[in-house]
């Protein structure tokens, strides 16, 4: 299976990188930019998994490793079975 997982900072957790990016964009002349939040994503390939297990397994990856629940949320999607 091919899957993509997004991991992003929770609301309210300050995002130094995002802040820096948005002010950099503004100084580069893109005044329209009002806010930037930066996150990570993972493109994952696995051996085939039974349909009903796929998403659960991806969430497992996040809980066990990919996301830190104290500061991050995540979203999983199966791209191709």
């Amino acid at each position: 299976m091919k899957a993509r997982i997004h991991v992003f900072l929770k609301e309210g957790v300050l995002d130094p990188q995002g802040k820096a990016v948005s002010s950099a964009l503004q100084t580069l002349g893109f005044g329209e930019v009002s806010s930037v939040r930066q996150g990570k994503f993972f493109d994952i390939e696995t051996a085939p998994l039974p349909k009903e297990e796929r998403e659960a397994r991806l969430r497992e990856y996040c809980k066990k490793l990919l996301a830190n629940p104290i500061i991050e949320n995540f979203k999983v999607e199966v791209v191709e079975p």
């Binding site: 957790v13 300050l14 130094p16 820096a20 066990k64 490793l65 990919l66 830190n68």
Partner: protein
Amino acid sequence: MRLSVIEFPGSNCDHDAYEWPLRVFGRAPQRVWYTDRDLRKADLVIIPGGFSYGDYLRCGAMAARSPVMEEVVAHAKRGGYVLGICNGFQILCEAGLLPGALLRNRTLTFLCQEVILRCETADAPFTASLKKGDLLRMPIAHGDGNYYCDEKTLRRLLDDSRVAFRYVSPDGRVDDGWNFNGSMDAIAGIVSGNRRVLGMMPHPERASEALLGSTDGAAILRGAASTIEARKKVQHG
């Protein structure tokens, strides 16, 4: 007192942590490899600094999930003593032994420089040989030392005076200009609920020798040692 220093792939202050007790009171720790499940009867487990797993994904994330950490968590739950320095602090947070997380420095760069720490509580094994308000000089060396936790957690840390050290100015004031990495409330180190687990970003093991510019770091190890020895005496009558 028995000490163990945990070694992860990518630890690079393991050597310094190993020599630290040797230098401070001539006692050699045990080395424990990350796949090991035996802490060698350690009273005090030191999780050294460095770049375990290259700091890839999140600092300390992968190390926190390695076999040896299950033993360290069990050790702490049994009331054992644990000290996490720099990457070690990040690992303790990732492993859930200490609350909060360490975000990217607000400068978005690695920062290595001497900082001034103020002891915020003498009521913990690692600060037992200090007085509240004492100032210590030692280096920081990290890219992700910007302490963060949610409001509720912060209040709990403050109410239980679990903040061990803050970054301060040379005259001992909390001052944003001296909180280089931008840590919440200038927090440089915190202790666990039972006060026996300390995580701190600065490097006391690099500040325990006059030749290197400061001996202030030795106090932290001495404090832990005296507390642990005293406790053992009580136990063994």
